[in-house]
Amino acid sequence: MATWFHQSLVAATLLAMAAASQAIAANECATGHTLTEGRLTVATGNPAYPPWVMNDAPQSGEGFESAIAYAVAERMGFDKSAVDWVRTSFDEAIQPGEKNFDFNLQQYSIKPERLEVIDFSTPYYTTTMAVVVKEGSAAAATEPTASGLKKLKFGAAAGTTSQPFLAKELQPEQDMLLYDDNADVVAAISANQIDAIVFDLPSALFVTAVQLDGGKLLGQFPVENNESPDNFGLLMAKGSALKPCVDAAIESLAADGTLKQIESQWLADGAGVPVIDMSK
């Protein structure tokens, strides 16, 4: 009995110490570096779109990026109640001056050109670009090859890296049309003003499944052909002292398979989507 009690006490103490030390270690990394002491401020878009954030409610933890944010926070030593959400546009995220967030996630691609004014974490997700067409349109019959796709009239959301990507990798024959957001691009393809849309693969999967009536995924670009596969990173102020802690958190999530698990929970599997043959 005594032994059991003793053993239990020791175990409990050890557990408590372990937990405490882990918490202290994590908190030490972030201590004094967050916007508000003891709290983590995370930014997302306004509005935030599924499947990244479900129902425009990031605090629910539902949606890929919302789940990622809470997982990163947890590894940094902030429990769910210590996370505050704010909203920013892309322009607010990159403007010089004080940031109103600790990190910002809304499918920001890590691009070398961007690193002059902001910092990115290690990637939390890697994807590629995909082409969406309308079922029943002439474009729907296009072969998923470079030569076939070249002939289409493309549209995309302007804030994304779709246009520079297409201009470099595919060089379409017709001028692209660009829009403010996904809703406008979808309106444009519905009105037959464009043949095809370029999205990142998860957005493409979501749009074809939910937003666009009769949407069809024509294909995804091969990752190896893409000069750098589209890597999403958490955006931070240039020289943010938080970066090592955020990077460590993401690496730890990747190492124990949590990232993969969140991904499979919220993002549709793109494995079945044909890969575009860039050699033809």
Binding site: D91, I94, K111, E116, A158, L178, A187, A188, N192, Q193
Partner: protein, 269 residues
């Protein structure tokens, strides 16, 4: 040179020197103060980034050609439609009263709706009806939206020009046996248009900038191209580049308008 002329010349020279010195002083103070702001380095990196400007400027300039083209085909359409609307608002015969109502209605509606809204509604709405290509082109319907808005404004300018031509000019034309239409065409309109050219130039300048609104419905013109570069590079310098390009066109146009106005004032006095 008379003593009076000599005196006036020296006064002129003196005021030019005073103006130049004060301008230089203000410039120097600004150039000295602004970099002292703590955020200046960051602002410089984000807004006045020379390597980014050099890299993006040629493409921006190319994108601007699209603005120039939209402007070039919109302007004549605007003038023609504005003329028609102004004439509608000016018909006097009772039988054509519905035309007057139409003209008034038209100017009320299209001056009352923000241009960007009209570009959205027409640029997305009408192609959404299911028109086949190329009749659903955003260029086409975006242009229609610009033409509708601007012709409403220009029609009002023309109408007030027509009303400013003195009744005695109409009387003189009528007394010579000229018809209503000939009186308008040869006597009233030429004077109205001439009188209103400076006012219309202001709309021409505004149109030069508003063609960029078409970027909202797809076309990748200057503003949109700058927007793409801004996203790609996370840097606002391409916007500054776009502003420079717009200024290169609008400043001369504005100066020219002022010159026309000054000339007109001189003629009147």
């Amino acid at each position: 040179m008379t003593p009076r002329q000599r005196y006036e010349q020296s006064e002129r020279r003196r005021s030019v020197i005073v103006a130049a010195v004060s301008l230089a002083a203000v410039g120097a103070v600004l150039a000295w103060l602004v970099p002292m702001a703590p955020g200046w380095e960051a602002v410089k990196r984000s807004f006045f980034n020379w390597p980014i400007l050099v890299k993006t400027f040629p493409t921006l300039l190319k994108a601007f050609m699209l603005d120039v083209m939209i402007f070039a085909w919109s302007l004549p359409l605007i003038i023609v439609l504005a003329l028609v609307i102004a004439l509608c608002r000016n018909v006097r015969s009772a039988a054509l009263f519905p035309l007057r109502v139409f003209g008034a209605f038209y100017t009320d509606i299209f001056r009352g709706v923000p241009t960007i809204l009209l570009v959205y509604l027409i640029g997305f709405g009408i192609p959404g009806l299911g028109l086949p290509r190329p009749w659903n082109s955003p260029y086409l319907w975006g242009t229609v939206a610009l033409v509708l808005t601007y012709s409403a404004y220009v029609a009002e300018v023309l109408r007030s020009g027509i009303e400013s031509v003195h009744a005695s000019q109409r009387s003189a034309a009528h007394s010579l046996g000229l018809s209503e239409a000939d009186t308008m065409r040869y006597v009233v309109l030429p004077q109205a248009i001439r009188r209103q050219i400076p006012a219309m130039m202001n709309f021409v300048i505004a149109l030069q900038k508003d063609v960029a609104l078409l970027s909202f419905i797809g076309p990748v013109e200057l503003l949109r191209q700058a927007n793409v570069y801004k996203s790609l590079m996370a840097n606002f310098t391409p916007y500054v580049g776009a502003a420079i390009i717009f200024l290169c066109v609008t400043i001369p146009a504005t100066r020219y308008t002022d010159h026309l106005l000054a000339k007109q004032r001189a003629q009147r006095s």
